[in-house]
Structure formats: C-alpha cells, structure tokens
Symmetry: C2
Subunit: 264 residues, 2 copies
DNA sequence: CGCGATCTTTTTGCATTCATTCTGTGGATT
DNA sequence: AATCCACAGAATGAATGCAAAAAGATCGCG
C-alpha cells in the first residue's frame, strides 16, 4: 500500500554520484554551522524547495539507514515550522524514501536485499523501455553524442579511473532515458534512481574486475543496437545489463554484510 | 461574516449554519447524500485512510477534469481539518493525480493527448517487464488460472459482452503483474493504472470491432508465450499490445474531441 | 455601454496550539 | 534481584489562528 510514486516529483540534482561524499552516518550532524541561511534555495513555491532540499538531504545520506527523521531538528535547520515539513515527509514516504510509522514518526527506509532485487528489476524494466522508445525517435546526432561519452568512458576504463567511468556510465543511461522523449518515464526513472542511490554498491566495483569488463562489453552492445535502431533487441540488452549489475551489487552487498558481521 | 472562524473562541464549529451560506459558490456537487458517516474507512493511521479515500474520490471521477479541488468542502465531507487534507493533496500531487499551483490551489490534472501517449508507453514498459519477470517464476498452476480467465474472456468476446470482457481483460493483466512477484512493480503499476483510469476510452471499444478481434489474438499470443516461458518474446508482445491499445484509445479520443467540438 | 481601478471576500500557506500517544525512568511488589 | 506498573517528559497527529495572496465585486471613468 505504500504507493510507489513515480512522477511529478522533481528529479533533483542527481548529478554528483554517490561515492565519496558519504561520511559514515550515525552522528546525524545537524550542523549548526550550515544553518541554511538562504530561504530554501530557489525553486518555485517554497514547498517544492523544501521538498527537494529534504529529498537531497536524505538521498545524499545525511541520515543513517533506518534512523529516525528528527522533525524538530530539521525544522530548525530549514527554518520552518512543522506543518510544511510534515507535508514534505508524507510525500517522501509516498516516494518510498522513508517509512512513516503511525505515532512513532518517520524513519529512513532501509532497503532489504529483497527491496534491492525489486528495485533493480524495475530499473531494468524502465531502461529497457527507454531503449526501445529511444530507438524509435533518436537522431543521428544524439547517437553520436552518446558514442562520444561512450568513448570517454572507455578511456576511463583503460585507465582504471572509477570515478570518471562511473560519471560517464550514469550519463549514458541518462541520455538514453532522455532520448526516449517521455517525460513521465524520465520522472519515474529519476525517482527510482534516487531511491537506489542511497546504496553504496558502486565503490567496490573495482574489486570486481570481471564485472567491469563485462559491463564495458554490454555497453558496446547497447551502442550497437542503438545505432541500428533495434528497439526490441536493445530492450533485452538493457534489461540484462541491469540484471548483471544487480548480481554484482548483490555480490558486493553480501560481502559487506559479512564484513559487518565480522567486525561486530 | 459567514465564516465561523472569525470568532475568537470558535467552539466546535460544527455544521449547518455555515453550509447554507456557501451553497451558491459551490456548483461542485459534493453530494449531501453520502455524507461520509464512517470515520474514514479502514486502514491504518487515519492519514492513509484519508489518502486512499481522496484518491478514490478523484480516480472515480467525482471531480471534473481540470476542476478546482475544493479544500473546504472536502474537509467537511470527510470531517477533518485542512491540515491532513493538505498533506493528502501534496501526496496526490506527487502521484500525478492533481496539479498544485502555487497560491492558487489544487486542480484535477487533465491529461493531454501527449500525457496519454506517455502514460500508455510507460504502462507498456511496465507490462513488458511484468511479462518478462513472470516467465521466470510463474507456476503451471498460475498459468492455468490465467488460461481459465482467458477462456472466460473469450466467451464474453463471442457474446459481445463488453463488460465481462473488460473485467477479464483487466484481471489477466493484473494476474501477470502479480505473477512477476515484484511488489515495487505492482505498486508502480497500480499508480499508473489509477492515473489512466480517469480516462474512459474503453466504453467505445465495441465501435472498434477490428481492434477487439485484434486484441483477442494478441491475448492468445500472450498466453502462448507465457506457457513457453518465453520472457523476452512476451515482453515484446506486451509492449506492442499496449501500443495498439494506445492507438485505439487515441483514435477514440480524437473522435470524442470532434464530437465535443461539434456539439459546441 | 465598456473598461479598469479599488476594495471586499475568499482562499491559501504557514505557524501555533492542543490533545493523544509514546518513551524512558523510578519505585513498588514479588 | 527482577518484573511490572505509574508517571513525567517528549514526540506525534490534528485543529485552529493569522498574514498574505488571489478571486470576485463594486464603483468610477472614459
């Protein structure tokens, strides 16, 4: 019943990826230092501003997994009263970023491995759709642009530059989604991407050298299908690509889980 | 001073005196008949109850397309104050059911033909995914159940029973989505289905005899692929099936638009 | 008679207040 | 000593209050 929302929600500045920045949670660090001097940056209609700010705040990992969302503190941090904050929380709950327990507040939603499995598959489905639609309408110029980024990505791959590789990778996927020319799809995609972004599977990708090479080959296939405008084929490839990504992520996730158990 | 709020003390402002004065403005036909005696049916946590109730209220078409969502009247109808109602509105806006214009309230989101195109394609993508996933895990029993409904549907088709046919059709699609075994997908699917449900394209399907027969054949193909657990193939079929549905809907939509123009 | 400015009424957005529920601590009982 | 209960403090959920914006009405003017 927690209806998975999908669109209408602002994509939010997805860009900088998930790696690095994640200071390890726990201490919530609601710094008085950065007291959000600006009246909630930009955006239309204040509420949207707050919503986006809060979403980023959570997606960027400022709150630990499963941690309670401190209503009071956030009010102070953003300089607003509880009413608009709670409205934003309801929306984030509907988006699936947090859980809202009756009478005991909001907690950052922690994704079980089952949740991850589901999310990856849905992402796969959305990307498969994006690929199919993109083949119907993408221009040669757009394909060329994607090829460009693909080559950049290849260079990063050769140099074993994880960060650069990852940026390009994200960019390519985003470009394909955009090329689909379907705003509803883009919004839905952004939502799920945000949900999954909290998970730090990527940082360890370089431990999975095999997977990395495999991923490169898959991207070659993606480009090839895109060039030929082979929608149905690309659809399959995209889904499989995400499936493989999922497997790698699960693998890493399990390893981390073991690690965690060991250190405990 | 029609508004009871102005009094400083305002002891339980229940009722009727104020309703009288607002009749003129209304026109919205918030039926006095069904005055929502129940304390918001079922569900946990009141808020969810209200949310579901409001969603149904809108999805079922009680408010005209593009109509303003009358905050005060709804508050009375559901017997709650504005705070929880507004929270629900934010969520519905995030779901894409209504638009929230800054400082000028909520309106029922009217779907442009472009929106419909996008929605149908996304639904197609989700159903394609559902079919693919279903093939991975569906049991023979589940396939048999779907076959059962399929045969029922066929009978309705032969008898030209639109209503029964439509019911079975919906049921089959829902069963496939469920068979995918992905709760996230189910929730997302339900969300989009709700959005699209406001459009009543189906009623005129019987005018499109060709499409009806074609749809039956497509369903045969769906079943066939499902039996063979041919995921990738089923994925294609599902997407195409929705594409064709979209075309039929657009066709009808245009016809209705013309009709509307003519009568004007 | 039409058009626009100004004033009133209504609506919206947010803050504040109030009632209820939860949480955590201390004490009494077994 | 451990368990259970009671109570104080804090939080959550919802209602009310208030300032500002929009919609509507009234009136003056061309």
């Amino acid at each position: 019943m927690p209806c998975a929302i999908s669109t209408g929600t602002a994509p939010s500045p997805s860009d900088d990826m998930m790696t690095a920045t994640m200071l390890d949670s726990a201490d919530v660090d609601l710094a008085p230092e950065e007291s959000r001097s600006e009246p909630l940056r930009g955006s239309a209609s204040l509420h949207d501003g707050l919503l986006a700010a809060l979403r980023d705040y959570i997606v960027e990992g400022n709150l630990a997994d499963g941690a309670r969302v401190p209503e009071r503190l956030l009010c102070e941090k953003f300089g607003i009263s509880r009413t608009p904050l709670r409205e934003a929380l309801k929306v984030l709950a509907a988006e699936g970023l947090i859980d809202l327990l009756p009478n005991r507040g909001a907690r950052v939603r922690s994704l079980s491995s089952e949740d991850l499995r589901e999310l990856f598959d849905v992402m796969g489905g959305l990307e498969a759709l994006a690929g199919r639609l993109a083949c119907e309408r993408i221009s040669d110029e757009e394909v060329a642009q994607i090829e460009q980024v693909h080559h950049d990505m290849y260079r990063f791959y050769i140099r074993r530059d994880m960060h650069g590789y990852f940026q390009c990778n994200q960019a390519i996927h985003r470009m394909i989604v955009e090329a689909a020319g379907n705003a509803t799809l883009s919004a839905t995609y952004a939502n799920f991407a945000g949900r999954i972004r909290r998970v730090r599977y990527s940082a360890n990708l370089d431990k999975e050298r095999d997977r990395w090479g495999e991923a490169m080959r898959e991207h070659e296939a993606i480009l090839d299908a895109l060039r030929r405008r082979a929608g149905s084929e690309l659809s399959d490839i995209m889904f499989q690509h995400l499936r493989n990504k999922r497997k790698a992520a699960q693998h890493i996730g399990e390893a981390q889980a073991l690690e965690g158990d060991a250190s405990r």
